[in-house]
Symmetry: C2
Subunit: 417 residues, 2 copies
């Protein structure tokens, strides 16, 4: 039995998606601007709702990092509003005809961008996802059904109430932006199988959430975010550059999916490279977990377990392994990588080229930090997540990745002979 | 417990996919040519294996249409070989960089086509799918795991044995093309959840098979083929053109997914149009199932049930409905369509445009037969199926639709500040 809330919201979303698919960019932009203005105007209400969530979270003695993700401030609400205004400025992909050709029978065939339809987003504590996801879905002509976590329910409800109203005030359908109020597990499970109403599901959160969605959903899923990323330093690398890159990839923002988790070092330069880089990383409070070879050079480090090489730490922890050669590095990445972002530091033309061909990941770097795998950095302007699957979209997903296409065919009576 | 056959073949396929992704077009083409030559050279063996399947099927008293789909002849084997030679001539999408740009930090970012990896194909009786699918997957650098039906097992085994050997003889990996020998239901069910080895599943067959796969698979699925297609004749249509189009869309090849199943007619021209088109269709042995309005004009027709409007007949049967206006036609198609191919016949510019905007289907036609939704007709040269979902690929899927992409990023020491 599917919950009445899902059926009601699913039907409304389907109707809304039909209208949104035919809505002009101008009107969608007006709605986004209204959403931004209303969030700012009603900031006090949002902060009050957020205080309820924060108190509950403190009672539950949730971690400091968790509390920080949950917390809203006046500045953060303003940032959410600015995020929406930034989406206004992005090109609307809908209606774009990427290709048009004429067949030998004189049919004109065009490949036109259209919305996906109804997008389900299942996410964890950050209330800003409610706004980001709603904004990106709206601009790309999709209706959205949001399902946040129970820890953020008061904040999410208030935000959803405000922005749904903005959209309705502009004259767009009620079902354009909806939040599931029931944060029970049963409803989330039902949402995974809501093929009748949802065209796609995007989970945003930790590895556990994503795994659960992928394993149980029958609705098509876009898998996002788990990044066990590597930086491999070849024997001929510019070691100063290599140090800069691994330090940046590990410490610039350790809690995000494009941060590096393992450093692989060619054995010929391990002795020269590792002690100095280890010192630098330790100064920045990075805990090092090393293979036996690397430990000889960094004696104060911990021993890395098999598990460490498979872990996305999302923290100031780095696994280090010395490899015999290029092939061993490739092999290690194939074995432990999550197809997110992988980097080589080298000055060898052939190895640079082969690394980019052989590594199967969303983003494959030569001589740059993995931290650039990001919609803004790529110039996409905003992102709904970073896909680590190969179907539909890979890497940073902007507005275009929230669309599908249809063929429009214009004839003058052609039939097949 | 996953069957040992699936684990063994899955692991081999994964290894093979890695190699195939790095294989030159030249070598893949050589393998395709060898496959074609070997199929022709060993035609007698294939026909002998097919005879076993045909005898079994006759004993089971399967339908004539079924037997025809199962049957192989010398000509059909030659056609399969020619199909492979046609794939040789297609452009290889792998390695194509669709876009390359330089960011403000001086990073060069390119979006490069790569194979999906390992593709699972679950299909019904036609043994030619074994060859078509294997050829398309190979050319696009993917390893394939085929799972045909038990009715065609002898034919499929023989064909798979021949073409796998061709590929190995050329020096490509053993796991490039594999057939699951166990045709039990249990193994098929396990295949649906083989996320560890399969990147995507493509079911090819009837609505029942496709539904079962979509509902149970955790591996990403590309849904193919169910086409409840409509032709809508507007009040201002050129009625001669409309007749030609519906006759073609219904009768040219009624058993395929792009054939029309329902004719919608504007009430203002129903009286002029329906009796003559009904006569024409009846001459071609089409059974007509009509709404009450239409029956008044075609008295000898059957009454259409609700069920009829929802059915993909795949046969010489046509449902007919008279609608009051354009909106009712749109509404009917939204309700009963399967997002495959929809056509309007009109000379009204605004309605033509609105129909193509409002109808949510893979192919939306103005003044042409739905029969053109086909990889060959679109100029894609070959197709693995017609997608009716919106994620990843929509409509005819050629080689490019069997690929993903990755971002290759070239820097000279860039880090994120």
């Amino acid at each position: 039995m599917i919950s009445q809330e899902l059926i009601d919201k699913g039907s409304l979303a389907k109707e809304a998606a039909y209208i949104l698919g035919l809505t002009s960019t101008e009107l969608k932009n007006k709605a986004l601007e209204k959403m931004a203005d209303d969030l700012e105007a009603r900031c006090t209400e949002i902060l009050a709702a957020n205080t309820l969530d924060m108190e509950k979270a403190k009672d539950k003695e949730l971690s400091k990092a968790f509390l920080d993700r949950l917390l809203l401030t006046e500045k953060r609400v303003k940032d959410m509003a600015e995020g929406l205004r930034a989406i206004v400025k992005l090109n609307d992909p809908i209606g774009e005809v990427e290709n048009m050709w004429t067949t030998s029978h004189g049919l004109q065939i065009g490949k036109m961008r259209v919305p996906l339809g109804v997008i389900g987003i299942i996410y964890e504590a950050r209330p800003n996802v409610t706004v980001d996801a709603a904004g990106l879905c709206l601009k790309s002509g999709n209706a959205v059904i949001l399902r946040g976590s129970s820890d953020a329910i008061n904040s999410n409800q208030k935000i959803a109430e405000i922005i749904s109203k903005s959209v309705e005030d502009i004259g767009l359908p009620k079902g354009s932006i909806q939040l599931i109020e029931d944060t029970g597990r049963e409803v989330a499970n039902q949402m995974l199988k809501l093929n009748k109403y949802l065209d796609v599901l995007i989970p945003r959160g930790g590895a556990g959430l994503i795994q659960a969605v992928v394993e149980n959903a029958t609705v098509p899923v876009i898998e996002t975010g788990v990044g066990n990323c590597h930086v491999y330093v070849e024997s001929d690398a510019d070691l100063k550059m290599a140090e800069k890159i691994i330090v940046n990839a590990k410490t610039h923002r350790p809690g995000v999916c494009n941060a590096a988790e393992t450093l692989l070092v060619h054995k010929d330069i391990a002795e020269e490279f590792l002690p100095s880089v280890a010192e630098k990383l330790r100064e920045l409070d990075v805990e090092l977990r090393c293979c036996p070879e690397a430990r000889k050079l960094i004696p104060e480090s911990k021993e890395a377990t098999e598990e460490d090489f498979a872990t996305e730490f999302l923290d100031l922890i780095l696994a280090i392994k010395v490899v015999d050669n290029f092939e061993e590095a490739l092999h290690h990445i194939r074995r432990y990588g999550t197809k997110h972002s992988e980097a080589i530091v080298t000055n060898d033309y052939k190895k640079a080229r082969l690394f980019q061909q052989a590594i199967d990941a969303a983003a494959v770097y030569v001589n740059a930090s993995t931290r650039f795998t990001d919609g803004f950095q790529f110039g996409y302007g905003a992102e709904i997540g970073i896909s680590t699957q190969k179907l539909h979209a890979r890497g940073p997903m902007g507005l275009k990745e929230l669309t599908s296409y249809k063929y429009i065919i214009m004839g003058d009576g052609q039939i097949r002979e």
